[in-house]
């Protein structure tokens, strides 16, 4: 800004002042709403000043202003009106209802709809709600924001998988995850992790590129995606350029993170006390001629174990630092608009050795060729480099360091890593090995829209999604468990999706009252995947790490696979005077994954709505300003995961060096999708001109034809004696409630809150032959929630002798359960003891704006679910199950003398006194968490004008700052990443907690 401009501005201000002094007068008037009813409490301010007033109960006001000034009339739920003060001294105003929230555009799949006219259940999340949250995955930013959508990160590793469960689990063996569609193109959400620990395939998306996310929750909404809609559909829309002045945005932040929780483990003194006591109680060491001192000295290297007090937990964790930079440019002219962005994030995790770097670029371009043809291109490229660490169940994963003995030093006196630890010292793995995963993802789409007629548009899209992953893993000769002179594993995995959409949209109006809209189209999607890997052993020195230097190529693999889907769909919407709303759709899906006898499935849906508040008897009410009833029904499918699950197959084998053909899969030409029928009833309401608004929904989902490998007679001679069949069913039933309130809205201050809560009840209703299916400690049983915990019941401690007790739970002759206790865990029967999934999830968000200051937060909460700590049998065994360091509780609450009332049994070295797998290690995982909080300050407009900027905001924010829970483990959300499967859930095993992150950030735009 130059001196001349500044000078000019000053003169203008002075002139205004002089002018104002001269022409001041009193203005009076009356303010009414759309229906002519006086509005009390309307804010009136003179634009550019802080002078203001409010209307009284009868809608009258009075204010002193000058000619040439502008009065602003603001009222919640009404459009802001402005009036220029002229010679008149009376200004009456009729406000118009501001239907902005209701006129929001909802993406519905192959089209959009105005929220007011939507008859399905769709949750929309805008970019403002997900920006500035320091998590590498966009999914993590959605937590707590949409009712009935449960989002859980596996654990605190940066690359950890993310589960999104919409309205309860609807499948046992097929996918439990929603379909992800970005700008109309199906995204590959297959986990391509090179280990059993799941990773997040959608890490490649830059959250800053997302304009909005629409989550299709009910069957009617998702039915347009047919055979893949059962688990809901997440529609991601990326940002586009707009006509007008170009905007350049720069967002920068730097963050510091630490574990959101640490646990208390025994220090050396307590550990030695406990060990001596446990030995006194069992005499184990004495029986083999050892002493406590001798044993502990064996793990202390060249130091005296009495002088050592190692906090191994501190070695497992590290300080996390995150840098984020995001630049975007958007703008355009009448013919061409573009959005271009580039972003970089460098993320060091809270667990030692875990890091992630990501570079993304995106260009979205729209071009209007002429009055009937417009074209566009979306393209994005992301490169993600992840330093991964071992699975939770590996001795060399950092988190397992907490099992080490505190009298065992991490390092010897000379600074070398202590190799004589109880379990392999992970620091050796940290130093002498690496596992680097690189992902390169190209997402692109070209599209055209042809206006065939004023009412008829043709859209054609060609999308491409290429995801390549390379893994380079090297284990040096000094790393634990490395028997050869180093090993290198190199793998390559390339997956591509090519997808085309062609559809016509026809909009018309019949007479004045009837509005029709039709969509008719098709989709073809083809997926191809190619993997190769090779393992080499034996390297001259640890400096050689590539396969070329290996002495022996010890393993190799290579696979190809693919699937294809061909679909046709049609949708019709109709409304009469915007009051009576109807929608119907049908989709026909053919998939290569379906059997030849069931190659095509039909997925119909219908819904209707009635906006009662548009009726004459309600239209005058400002108390009940909006009321809509909705009802929907639809059928969705869930495609089998196996690409060739329906075919009878023979695979390669060998006998005596000659190739053999082995029967590997039984045939089921009837194989088809799992089918979910869902009904939904909803009420949308708004009170006080929509100052209070919300939605209430009830749904019931019945899923049938669940896929199971059903057991067939051995005499049938089928491979593995099973065949993949559609048998079994389950149901989910629930309520969702969301409430939005605008607590304060005036020109200086706004305060809005959102509260949402969802209750879901899940029940298995039919299993193959009605039999229980047990996976380790989860059970599928008719009448119980999916994957219920199945464990023997811990009954505490016998005060007389310190024995651990279990409830027998054997069946009495009359069918009741014998609730007497036993100290022999093998006598106790297992019972359904809990549910890994919560019954209730909730979110609470609030935004304050006061002048330039903004403050927002989101709480999330879950109730009714449990977590099983599989490591409990080591961490809380009273040294009965190994010398693992113990939870502080074991020391503090242990039974010591007859008469002690406690739940921690007597410590007995290498004797099972309470460490059998039981409900002792099952805990409620209820929690409330302050998921994110942000405080920002934006420079006011006049300063921005002077600086030539359109936005300058500095902020501080926090992620996972507070957690309220009685759960004693690291994190009620974390789970074991080594054993995760559809049927083995809710278990934690040395699983890292989520990070607590503090961020300092800057947003600039001009």
């Amino acid at each position: 800004m130059n001196v001349n401009k500044l000078f000019g501005a000053l003169i203008a201000v002075c002139c205004t002042l002089v002018f104002t002094q001269a022409q001041e007068k009193t203005i009076t008037g009356n303010v009414v709403d759309q229906a002519g009813i006086p509005l009390p409490g309307v804010n009136i301010v003179i634009q550019g000043t802080t002078t203001g007033t409010q209307t009284d109960f009868d809608g009258n006001y009075s204010i002193i202003a000058s000619e040439g000034q502008t009065l602003l009339f603001t009222y919640i739920g009404q459009k802001t009106e402005s009036r220029l003060v002229d010679t008149s001294s009376i200004i009456n105003v009729q406000m118009q209802q501001d239907a902005e929230a209701l006129d929001e555009v909802i993406v519905v799949g192959f089209g959009t709809q105005i929220k007011r006219k939507v008859t399905d259940n769709i949750a929309k999340i805008e970019s403002e709600q997900i920006g500035g949250i320091a998590t590498p995955s966009f999914q993590g930013a959605l937590i707590g924001k949409a009712p009935g959508v449960q989002i859980t990160q596996t654990n605190g590793k940066l690359d950890g998988g993310l589960n999104i469960v919409i309205r309860g689990l609807s499948s046992v063996t097929a996918s439990q995850q929603p379909l992800f569609v970005i700008d109309g193109i199906e995204m590959n959400n297959n986990d391509i992790s090179s280990t059993t620990a799941p990773t997040n395939p959608l890490l490649a998306l830059n959250p800053n590129d997302i304009a909005s996310i629409d989550i299709l929750k009910d069957a009617s909404a998702a039915a347009i995606f047919g055979a893949k809609g059962t688990n809901g559909v997440v529609l991601i829309t990326t940002k586009r350029g707009a006509q007008g002045k170009s905007t350049v945005s720069l967002d920068m932040s730097t963050s510091y993170g630490q574990p959101s929780n640490k646990r208390d483990w025994l220090n050396s003194a307590d550990y030695i006390t406990l060990l001596e006591e446990a030995e006194a109680n069992s005499g184990f060491l004495a029986s083999i001629g050892l002493t406590v001192d001798g044993l502990l000295q064996g793990f202390a290297g060249d130091q005296d174990f009495r002088d050592v007090n190692t906090d191994w937990q501190d070695f497992a964790f590290q300080d996390s630092y995150i840098q984020d930079v995001n630049i975007s440019v958007s703008g355009g002219n009448e013919k061409t608009q573009s959005f271009i962005s580039g972003a970089y994030t460098n993320n060091e995790g809270i667990v030692r050795g875990n890091a992630l770097q990501r570079y993304t670029v995106r260009a979205n371009i729209d071009h209007k060729v002429n009055d009937w043809l417009s074209l566009g291109l979306n393209s994005s490229y992301a490169s993600t480099i992840i330093d991964r660490i071992a699975n939770d169940n590996a001795f060399v994963t950092p988190m397992q360091a907490i099992a080490q003995i505190p009298t065992s030093p991490a390092f010897l006196s000379d600074g070398e890593i202590n190799t004589n630890t109880l379990y392999a010292n992970f620091l050796l793995q940290d130093k002498f090995s690496f596992r680097e995963t690189k992902r390169r993802r190209l997402l692109g789409k070209v599209f055209a829209e042809i206006k065939l007629h004023e009412k008829l548009r043709w859209q054609t899209e060609l999308g491409y999604d290429y995801l390549n992953q390379t893994v380079d893993r090297n284990t040096g000769r000094l790393a634990p468990f490395q028997s050869t002179n180093g090993q290198t594993f190199a793998a390559d995995n390339g997956a591509e999706i090519i997808s085309t959409n062609n559809y016509i949209t026809f909009d018309t109006t019949l007479g004045e009252a009837s509005n029709f809209s039709f969509v008719l189209g098709n989709n073809y999607t083809r997926f191809k995947n190619r993997t190769t890997s090779v393992t080499g052993d034996g390297f001259p020195t640890d400096d050689f790490r590539s396969i070329a230097s290996a002495a022996l190529i010890s393993a190799g693999d290579g696979t190809f696979t693919n699937w294809a889907q061909l679909s046709y769909f049609a949708r019709a919407t109709y409304d009469y005077r915007g009051k009576y709303l109807f929608k119907a759709s049908i989709r026909r899906d053919g998939s290569s994954r379906f059997g030849s006898e069931n190659r095509y499935g039909y997925f119909p849906a219908a819904s209707a709505g009635w906006i009662i508040s548009e009726e004459s008897f309600l239209s005058g009410s400002s108390t009940l300003s909006y009321l809509k009833l909705r009802g929907s029904w639809g059928i969705n499918g869930n495609t089998p995961i196996a690409n060739f699950g329906s075919l009878g197959l023979f695979g390669g084998a060998s006998y005596n060096g000659e190739s053999a053909l082995e029967f590997t899969q039984g045939e089921n030409p009837d194989l088809k999708w799992e089918e979910t029928e869902q009904i939904n009833f909803g009420i949308d309401f708004g009170f006080l001109n929509n100052r209070i608004s919300g939605e209430i929904d009830y749904y019931k989902k019945n899923t049938e034809d669940l896929l199971f490998n059903t057991r067939v007679p051995f005499e049938a001679s089928l491979p593995s004696h099973v065949v993949l069949q559609n048998v079994g069913s389950l149901e989910n039933e629930g309520f969702e409630f969301s409430l939005n309130t605008t607590n304060i809205q005036n020109p200086y201050m706004t305060w809005k809150t959102n509260f949402n809560i969802a209750i879901n009840k899940n029940k298995i209703t039919n299993l193959p032959n009605g039999e229980d299916l047990i996976t380790v400690r989860n059970i599928l049983r008719e009448g119980e929630p999916i994957n219920s915990f199945f464990l023997i019941e811990y009954a505490g401690v016998d005060p007389a002798n310190g024995d651990a007790l279990y409830v027998l739970n054997t069946e009495n002759p009359d069918g009741t359960l014998n609730k007497n206790a036993t100290n022999d865990p093998t006598e106790a029967e297992r019972i359904v003891a809990g549910n890994p999934n919560p019954d209730v999830i909730a979110g609470f968000s609030s935004n304050f704006n006061f002048k330039g200051i903004d403050f927002s937060f989101t709480f999330q909460g879950q109730w009714g679910g449990q977590r099983y700590n599989e490591a409990g049998k080591f961490q809380e065994s009273g040294l009965g199950n190994g010398l693992d360091n113990q939870d502080q509780v074991i020391f503090d609450r242990r039974w010591q003398n007859p008469g002690d009332i406690t739940d921690v049994p007597q410590a007995r070295l290498f004797v099972n006194n309470g460490h059998s797998e039981s409900t002792r290690y099952l805990q409620d995982a209820d929690f409330i968490r302050l998921r994110n909080v942000a405080l920002g300050y934006s420079l006011p407009q006049n300063v921005l004008d002077r600086l030539g900027m359109s936005r300058v905001r500095v902020y501080v924010s926090g992620l996972n700052l507070l957690t309220f829970t009685d759960y004693r483990g690291y994190d009620p959300e974390s789970s074991d990443d080594s054993a995760i499967s559809n049927t083995n859930s809710g278990t934690t095993f040395y699983s890292a907690p989520q990070a607590r992150v503090y961020t300092l950030g800057l947003n600039l735009a001009f």
């Binding site: 083809r526 084998a653 051995f714 001679s717």
Partner: protein, 459 residues
């Protein structure tokens, strides 16, 4: 420009009408059943898979998993159930412990695995037999048919002995055996158990056909003499001593196989010794030798002496110089102090299924019982076998001496249970026909096929 628009519309319409046959995709690591049974080469490869499954334990966890019936699992089960004080059980597998204690329950894992794998082998074999019309070369077709029937006869013979009561030479064998399945895999198949008589008939029919179809020499795969040798075993079990004698005699006379010079040479050889009539091939890359797993030390690749020899067994020998008595070694580490048999020291040795020593014992016993001397006089035959192992010659024979000789010669090779049953001798105080000496029909098999009747003594 409007023309242009029409052209574009036409082009897009063309794209709209995609080909539905795009959905007929074929996998690339597997082939369909139709393709797999289309050529003689493929049928031969399916036959090889039947051999493969017989001795496979799927170490790489590639589905489907197999247990390795003929890698030693059946023989170990037979010897644990048949032995009492001659061996000790030191392992941790509860299914094998229950076998040794004659206390099986209806979901015994050995009973389950052997049953399940047997029908997997039969499924492959039946697929081969149903597709013999693919062979244009008759001799090739005969060989494949012969091998398939050999394997099927072998499998049903093992099943009927394990899951049914002993065959009664006097006839009236209506006790239940196992379901006879002769057709390729079929998901809807549910069949009841056939009688022991019917199963034996099928076994003899298959093995007789195999002997007629197979060449006299067939590499490492089954030949005419392998079929005859197994047939001799079947007849012996039935009490058809003439049939057993004649089959064994033909093997001894014509097969070219003969006793190795020393006892030790008959075992643990690289490839097969000349004494071996048929074996399952095991290499470092392929298959598994589960005799080694249960009988050998950890240093040799075993579990550390799950099964060890006791003094009671050593006391059966009449001479301390008998090489068979001394064919042992002492365990170390976790098997410290155990006396272990030297028969299974090599981790990747072929698994011998039938050898010449047994043929001599069958011919001698049958000649003795029938008072004949076909091939060789019984006393001379037994003394020749003993002579190989430096055991002193016997002056005269009794049936008990011959049966004892079988225990000295064939110990741990999977004979005890069947020999005691056919000679109606008690096992550890249990009469030979005690219910506890017959496998249960696995609970899982009955869950899958309600037509299967359980054996007496099990629920």
């Amino acid at each position: 420009m409007k023309y242009m628009r029409n052209i574009i519309v036409l082009l897009v319409f063309a794209g709209f009408v995609s080909c539905e046959n795009e959905l007929d995709l074929e996998p690339q690591q597997s082939i369909s059943i139709g393709l797999a049974t289309d050529t003689p080469e493929n049928i031969n490869a399916i036959l090889l898979a039947a051999y493969d499954i017989g001795r496979n334990t799927s170490p790489d966890n590639v589905l489907p998993l197999y247990n390795g019936n003929y890698s030693g699992e059946i023989s170990v089960a037979v010897d644990l159930l048949g032995n009492t004080d001659q061996v000790s059980w030191n392992g941790t597998f509860s299914n094998l412990r229950d076998l040794f204690n004659k206390a099986m329950i209806n979901d015994n894992l050995s009973a389950l695995n052997i049953y399940a794998d047997s029908y997997s082998i039969i499924g492959h074999v039946n697929t081969v037999l149903a597709n013999l019309d693919k062979f244009e070369d008759a001799s090739e077709g005969n060989r494949v048919e012969g091998e398939a029937k050999f394997l099927r006869g072998l499998v049903y013979f093992d099943m009927v002995r394990l899951y049914g009561q002993q065959y009664n030479a006097a006839g009236n064998n209506t006790q239940l055996g196992v379901p006879i399945v002769l057709l390729p895999p079929d998901v809807s198949r549910a069949v009841p158990r056939d009688t022991v008589e019917d199963v034996y008939d099928q076994v003899i029919s298959d093995l007789t056909d195999a002997a007629a179809l197979l060449p006299e020499s067939n590499g490492d795969r089954a030949d005419r003499y392998a079929a005859l040798a197994v047939l001799a075993r079947v007849y012996l079990q039935q009490g058809n001593f003439a049939g057993a004698r004649d089959a064994a005699n033909e093997v001894l006379q014509s097969s070219g196989h003969a006793l190795t010079t020393t006892y030790a040479e008959a075992f643990d050889t690289d490839g097969n010794s000349n004494e071996t009539i048929f074996s399952w091939v095991v290499t470092v890359q392929e298959g598994s030798n589960n005799y080694n797993v249960y009988y050998a030390t950890q240093a040799l690749g075993g579990r550390g002496g799950d099964i060890a020899i006791t003094q009671a067994y050593l006391d059966k020998f009449d001479s301390p110089s008998d090489e068979r008595r001394n064919f042992t070694y002492l365990g170390e580490g976790v098997s410290e102090g155990f006396i272990l048999t030297s028969k299974f020291r090599r981790q990747f040795a072929n698994v011998s299924h039938i050898r010449i020593g047994e043929m001599h014992l069958i011919r001698a016993e049958c000649n003795f019982r029938l008072g004949t001397s076909i091939g060789l006089a019984p006393l001379a035959e037994i003394n020749a076998l003993r002579g190989r192992s430096s055991a002193p010659a016997l002056g005269a024979l009794t049936l008990d001496l011959i049966l004892n000789e079988r225990e000295l010669e064939l110990a741990f090779e999977g004979f005890t249970l069947h020999d005691y049953k056919r000679t109606e001798r008690a096992i550890g105080g249990l009469p030979f026909n005690d219910n506890a000496l017959v496998f249960p029909i696995p609970q899982s098999a009955r869950d899958r096929n309600p037509l299967l009747e359980q054996n007496p003594g099990y629920n």
